[in-house]
């Protein structure tokens, strides 16, 4: 059999080779540096799977238990590596099962390429078996999509797909390939895409905006930075840190910006938004200059827009021109790649330290510690809190773990309390809020960062949305650590019912199965903790395990997450209880 070198050499030569469309798809993936794909086979994609079998020494395919799991695993891989995640599915239901993952990747700007099989060209529109218009269905949730009906289109379209997915503001791309295009032969040669005439991934930088921004920052008395995932996607962590330190500006983060700046940095002032920290939320409405870096003023960050930072001048560093003035009117919009714009900004900044202003944050931090954090992390009541579990995980993993969280109360607790030293360590479904995200995403994260500890933090509700991916963990022996914080409730919805619907707990109480037995059924080491005295040892055992490990922690049933900005309220009206 040919070696990989021979295979790729034959494709990189100027001469073309005559191969099937299906083989061309695999060779395109190899040319793009892909060696891991997630997916699920079926009729309309069988020619590609047949080639995957032949190329299995070079391209590893992970069979998930559901196509949604394949997308989230690809997302987890992409988020932890910064590379493009790849998922594959067959036509019809296989393709429609990708939609949630595509929507999640679209709203969280995750680079992903999904490949779907499609019925043969001559059957399109005939309501053939497992035919569905996935290009039509996925249009609103993809950065770009395309249906290939001729084998000869494959190299150019695949090259475009990867270019679009990873460039500019990243996002998901779906390529639908009819079965005839997989079977038919083409003269194959590959050329990477490096430009599309109608697409400008990065806006040009206007230097006058950078100097105007510098001047505004230099004269500010109470400046505040809020950074988002743009810092991570743009690999601008060092530039962010340099700006923060030189100008002495307190820096808060959005849920997706978390881990771009180490948790214990003295100028890291915590999370903004609905369940963020008290100080940065309240002081958003007291700062004089608000510097937004690679974030998009989501409603969960801003609360009521009419009362959001009205006193402040706003500077928005952003790669996507459509985000400027979308929600918050900016005074200075600095368009461009944030790594480049921050690099240009840095020498224009005057060294500063806003000590009095920082004191304001510390005073408010003390209030939050007293009213909320102390009770979350060091509870005196009998029931276990989600916060103390996070505290134990921080301790046992020495702040080095990748934390993959699902959606709900435990997610907010994880983002509030997990401590990080390195970037790309917090993986969660921020924009779409996809329950069921964490378990498959953790598989992808572990495969993307095999040398790092990967801990999934999941609620008992979301866990059961993709619980079948335990099968993937079992089959692939992926050593992920799974923590289910079980309160027998859909906790966040229950919290809202308690606070805003007079405790009418409509369909939020869960009668749960024996999660430990289920995990053991998949041959995964499993343990349940119900008492505080057993928690630390159980977490230690989990972290020490070389294999996958499942830990269920039965926590207080009706705990609430605070602080909280009730929806529609102002950030400064954040509640501590």
């Amino acid at each position: 059999m040919e070696t990989l070198k021979e295979k790729t050499a034959s494709t990189t030569q100027a001469t073309t080779i005559r191969i099937s469309g299906a083989e061309a798809v695999i060779r395109c993936l190899l040319e793009e540096g892909v060696n891991l794909v997630y997916g699920y086979p079926g009729g309309a994609i069988m020619p590609i799977y047949d080639e995957l079998y032949k190329f299995s020494d070079h391209l590893h395919h992970v069979l998930t238990r559901h196509e949604q799991g394949a997308t989230h695993a690809a997302q987890g891989f992409a988020r932890v590596t910064g590379e493009v995640g790849v998922a594959m599915a067959t036509s019809g239901p296989g393709a429609t099962n990708l939609v949630t993952g595509l929507a999640d990747a679209q709203i969280d700007s995750t680079p992903m390429v999904c490949i779907t099989g499609q019925v043969a060209r001559q059957l399109l529109g005939s309501d053939a078996f497992q035919e569905t218009d996935i290009v039509g269905i996925s249009t609103p949730v993809t950065k770009w999509n395309y249906q290939i009906t001729k084998a000869s289109e494959i190299p150019e379209i695949m090259a475009k797909a990867f270019y679009i997915a990873r460039s500019g503001r990243p996002g998901p791309v779906l390529i639908d390939i009819t079965k005839n295009a997989q079977f038919d032969e083409l003269d194959f040669s590959y050329e990477k895409c490096n430009g599309i005439r109608s697409y400008k991934p990065k806006p040009e930088i206007d230097l006058s905006k950078i100097s105007a921004a510098a001047e505004m920052i230099n004269t500010a008395k109470r400046p505040m930075i809020v950074f988002g995932q743009g810092i991570i996607l743009g690999q601008a962590e060092e530039e962010l840190k340099a700006v923060v330190e030189k100008a002495g500006i307190p820096a808060a983060w959005t849920i997706l910006g978390l881990s771009a700046l180490e948790s214990d940095h003295p100028l890291n002032v915590g999370m903004v938004g609905m369940h963020g920290n008290y100080a940065p939320n309240v002081l958003t409405n007291e700062c004089d200059v608000l510097i937004a870096l690679g974030m998009r003023f989501d409603d969960r960050v801003t609360g009521n827009l009419n009362t959001y930072a009205r006193q402040a001048k706003v500077i928005h560093f952003e790669i996507d021109p459509a985000e400027i003035d979308k929600n918050v009117k900016t005074d200075i919009a600095v368009l461009g790649d944030v790594k480049e714009t921050l690099e240009l900004l840095l020498p224009l900044l005057e060294p500063n330290s806003h000590n009095n202003w920082l004191e304001e944050f510390k005073k408010k931090d003390a209030i939050e510690f007293d009213k909320v954090i102390k009770n979350d992390l060091f509870p005196e009541k009998e029931g276990l809190t989600m916060g103390e579990v996070l505290g134990q995980i921080n301790r046992a993993s020495n702040h080095e773990a990748v934390i993959v969280s699902d959606v709900g109360q435990h997610q907010m607790i994880a983002c509030r309390y997990a401590k990080f030293r390195q970037s790309k360590s917090n993986i969660t479904s921020g924009g779409l809020g996809t329950m069921g995200f964490a378990l498959p995403a953790a598989i992808g994260a572990k495969m993307g960062a095999p040398d790092r500890e990967v801990v999934a933090i999941i609620g008992d509700g979301g866990y059961q949305m993709t619980i079948q991916e335990l099968g993937t963990i079992f089959q692939t022996r992926t050593p992920v650590k799974i923590v289910v914080l079980n309160n027998d409730f859909l906790g966040m919805v229950r919290q809202w019912q308690q606070l805003f619907f007079d405790k009418r707990y409509a369909s939020t109480e869960l009668t749960n199965p024996d999660f430990v037995t289920i995990a053991q059924g998949y041959n995964i080491n499993a343990r349940r903790v119900t008492k505080r005295e057993d928690l630390a040892a159980a977490v230690d055992e989990m972290i020490a395990s070389k294999e996958a490990y499942f830990l269920e922690v039965c926590v207080e049933k009706e705990d609430n997450v605070f602080p909280m900005i009730p929806s529609g309220a102002s950030v400064s009206d954040i509640r501590l209880s």
Binding site: V135, G136, T139, P140, K143, W144, N145, Y146, Q147, I164, G195, I196, R197, S198, Y199, D320, P321, A322, I324, D325, K326
Partner: protein, 177 residues
């Protein structure tokens, strides 16, 4: 903010599915498209959508931002009515008997500056180009006599201000060559 009529011009590649992607941007924001026309533009192989919406300037700005973000869209612009020259076309199919029985029909056609594009034993066809109100006026005059078929096109429009298309063209040529 006050709602106004805006004409959005989108210069794009001519790809299958792009219309779906563009209309989806309006759908997502629950904004109705009043009229839509797609044709070739002054640039070879570049298509032009002319879309009319009734909304606020805030929304139209955001929509244009989202339109420009689409991979296959080259540029998008928006204008208010006074910044554009715009027209619609309509054709009317009328029973031929009327032409001979009702003397007024000939006068109506002459006065409205419309033209007869086809005549047969059973019916004749009138075409009218102009503003929506002029076409409506003709419709209202013909309607009492009975209209066999009526159809009106979407708005087509050119802008009075430049849309920087020449620089766009140049950019295109430097990329393609």
């Amino acid at each position: 903010m006050e709602k106004k009529t805006f004409t959005i011009s989108v210069y794009s590649e001519n790809n299958v599915g792009l219309l779906n992607r563009i209309s989806g941007i309006f759908l997502k924001r629950h904004i109705n498209i009043e009229s839509l026309n797609v044709s070739e533009s002054e640039i070879e192989n570049v298509f032009r959508f002319v879309i009319v919406v009734h909304t606020t300037e805030n929304w139209v700005k955001r929509i244009v931002g989202q339109l420009e973000k689409q991979i296959d869209v080259i540029r998008a612009f928006y204008h208010v009515d006074k910044e554009t020259i715009y027209q619609e076309s309509a054709i009317f199919k009328i029973s031929s008997d009327l032409f001979f029985d009702e003397g007024q029909i000939e006068t109506i056609i002459k006065d409205s500056n419309s033209s007869i594009v086809s005549v047969s034993r059973d019916f004749f066809v009138i075409a009218k180009t102009g503003r929506r109100s002029e076409i409506q006026e003709l419709y209202d005059e013909l309607q009492p006599f009975g209209i066999m078929q009526f159809v009106r096109s979407g708005r087509i429009s050119v802008s009075k201000p430049q849309m920087k298309i020449s620089s766009l063209l140049q950019e295109f040529q430097t990329i393609t060559h």
